[in-house]
């Protein structure tokens, strides 16, 4: 009599290798202040913020089906909260980052109740309206510089650390921690029970519902989580810049168009997609930066072509061909028959 024995695998040789490579990269990046110059640090920091924004948007749109084009609302809100907490609350900006995240998640609750009334594509434009309202409201706050914006006072900036080098190192590590933390957090979330629910929603909403998943609640949770994390990213972006204005804070191009293009080009609905997309985005930017507006047109064109020809993005093309998964969230059944 033969009995079949089986084991359940949650990782593959490729994924274990990828995990090792990712950890090594992270260590190298943590040590960057000792091997990279100031410009490189700033670039790595910027890559980390876009990686975080793209991963978060991917979680929202790719998994929860909430295609928002208004995430700049939270980037700007987080930035402004950091400035307000530091300037009026006397809170150390580094501690103000998580606080801005909490406030972002709180403000997202009434927003969600409002925009969740809109379906599909109308939800998208509704989120954009919300971002516009945020921009207009913050332009009315004269204590934060009104329409022309404000700078973080010098003595506040000095209070974080005495020297410029140490200060920039701290900001760099905070940015890196947020970028890496976002990807790791999303990976952990998707491997959990809730992640399984999310993946089910991604694949078929009605099937997920028939299996007893509370779609509305799952989506709301994801929306609030993403809003909070996006606010933290926004806080750190404007902490780096030391200056904030409504137009920069709530820019649809900088914080939503680029982020969407990154996710679409890399591959929406996968963890690897935003990572690949971010790398491609910065590669293209370094190569084509001299072209100015033409560069943005090329980026838009590439995103449109990818959406039409390869809707699963560059990672989808690669993963299908090689049957590869670097961040496996599913389970694989391996059957070993025994005598």
């Amino acid at each position: 009599m033969t009995a079949s024995a089986f084991t359940i695998e949650r990782s593959t040789p490729a994924s274990r290798l990828a995990m090792l490579a990712a950890m090594l990269t992270l260590v190298v990046l943590v040590l960057a202040p000792w091997w990279a110059n100031r410009a490189d640090l700033r670039l790595i920091g910027e890559i980390a913020t876009y990686l975080a924004l793209a991963s978060l948007w991917n979680l929202l749109a790719g998994y929860a089906g909430l295609v928002s084009v208004g995430q700049q609302a939270y980037v700007g809100f987080g930035g402004y909260m950091l400035f307000a907490l530091a300037m009026f609350g006397g809170i150390n900006p580094l501690f103000a980052i998580p606080l801005a995240g909490v406030l972002g998640a709180i403000i997202a609750a009434p927003v969600a109740l409002l925009v969740f009334r809109l379906q599909g594509a109308y939800f998208a434009i509704g989120t954009w309206v919300v971002a516009e309202v945020f921009r207009l409201l913050f332009s009315q706050v004269s204590a934060l510089g009104g329409g022309s914006g404000t700078s973080l006072p010098v003595d506040l900036v000095r209070s974080i650390a005495s020297g410029r080098d140490l200060r920039e190192m701290l900001v760099y590590w905070a940015t890196l921690a947020l970028g890496a933390g976002t990807v790791i957090g999303i990976y952990a979330l998707l491997r959990s029970r809730r992640g399984l629910a999310l993946t089910a929603i991604r694949d078929s909403e009605s099937a997920a519902q028939s299996l007893g998943i509370d779609i509305w609640r799952t989506k709301l949770t994801v929306y609030l989580l993403v809003a909070g994390a996006t606010s933290m990213v926004g806080a750190i972006i404007f902490f780096q810049k030391l200056r904030i204005s409504p137009d920069a804070a709530f820019s649809v191009n900088d914080w939503t168009a680029f982020v969407i293009f990154i996710t679409v080009i890399g591959g929406i609905g996968t963890i690897e997609g935003p990572i690949i997309g971010t790398l491609v985005f910065f590669l293209l930017r370094e190569l084509l930066a001299d072209l100015g507006t033409l560069y943005l047109m090329i980026l838009g064109l590439v995103a449109v072509l990818v959406m039409l020809k390869a809707p699963h993005g560059l990672w989808g093309l690669l993963a299908n061909r090689l049957n590869l998964s670097l961040f496996p969230v599913g389970r694989r059944l391996k059957i070993t028959s025994k005598e």
């Binding site: 509704g126 309206v129 309202v133 047109m297």
Partner: protein, 289 residues
């Protein structure tokens, strides 16, 4: 008091323009469930084409309709057949992202061709002409013409939808694509015609926008948002509702501006949010059944 009456009247007339922004958006959503994120940028594109045509030929501003409307209609048909038809399906993501990409392409293309300068089309003496309605209450000729055109366009669309064979084809395709196809309708062609019609309306809206106010390559997204708000306030799928939605939005903006210039846009958004909270389906949702 007359100041407030003037503000409301101007708001009503402005609402006509917003209803035109909204009509094209509403039309293609009705026929093919596509929300065109590039809608506002297409309005601005039409304004720039009108500007270029007037510059080159020297024809009067409002005569540019003759060129711009057919040009945008052809562009719409081509865009639908070549690009947008490929994105339609159960998934809402592809049309959204493709039109979002188009929006960025159009904006930056216009920036490349026309620079970021703010432009305006000069319509001549008609621009400042007005006629008195009552003591202290004047109506500008141009806003009045805009409003009349808007009402005519919406009335025309209504007739087309409910009184012609093409309108029947639009409604049939909207109701059930597969069955409409079985009845011999080529939905790719129908969608192309719907987009052509939508961009013809966009062309009218673009020219009227250009003679009314300054515009620049980045002006599109705000037009999309105004049009979208008018659609939602009025109720999805109801063209006359869209006109009312535009008027409510226009009045909210002009009255808001009257209170404080900084509140013009916010007041419009608050009107939209209020309707969304109280009547999520809009004020005049389409009757079903």
């Amino acid at each position: 008091m007359t100041e407030w009456i003037n503000a409301v009247l101007q708001g009503v007339l402005l609402g006509g323009l917003y209803a035109l922004f909204a009509a094209g958006l509403s039309l293609i959503f009705g026929v093919m469930r596509l929300v065109n994120i590039a809608h506002g940028d297409l309005i601005v594109l039409a304004a720039f084409i009108a500007l270029a045509v007037i510059d080159v030929t020297g024809i009067p501003a409002l005569a540019s309709f003759v060129v711009v409307v057919p040009a945008m209609a052809i562009l719409g048909y081509a865009l639908q057949r070549a690009v947008l038809n490929r994105t339609l399906g159960p998934d809402i993501l592809p049309p959204l992202l493709v039109t979002f990409g188009l929006s960025v392409i159009i904006q930056n293309g216009l920036l490349e061709l026309f620079t970021a300068d703010s432009r305006r089309i000069n319509a001549g003496a008609i621009e400042v002409a007005s006629f008195p309605l009552a003591a202290g209450v004047n109506i500008g000729v141009l806003p009045a013409i805009t409003f009349i055109i808007a009402v005519a366009v919406i009335g025309g669309l209504q007739l087309l939808f409910y009184r012609t064979a093409l309108g029947r084809a639009f409604r049939a395709t909207s109701d059930d694509r597969e069955v409409a196809q079985l009845m011999g309708l080529d939905n790719r062609h129908i969608y192309g015609l719907a987009m052509a019609l939508s961009l013809a309306v966009v062309a009218v809206a673009g020219i009227l926008l250009a003679v009314r106010t300054n515009f620049d390559p980045a002006a599109g997204p705000a037009r999309l948002i105004f049009g979208f708000e008018a659609v939602i306030i009025g109720g999805l799928g109801n063209l006359w509702g869209t006109l009312i939605g535009g008027i409510i939005l226009g009045v909210a903006q002009t009255v808001g501006a009257r209170i404080d210039p900084g509140w013009q846009l916010l007041a419009g958004h608050f009107a939209f949010v209020t309707v969304l909270v109280l009547r999520p389906n809009g004020l005049f949702p389409r009757m079903t059944g």
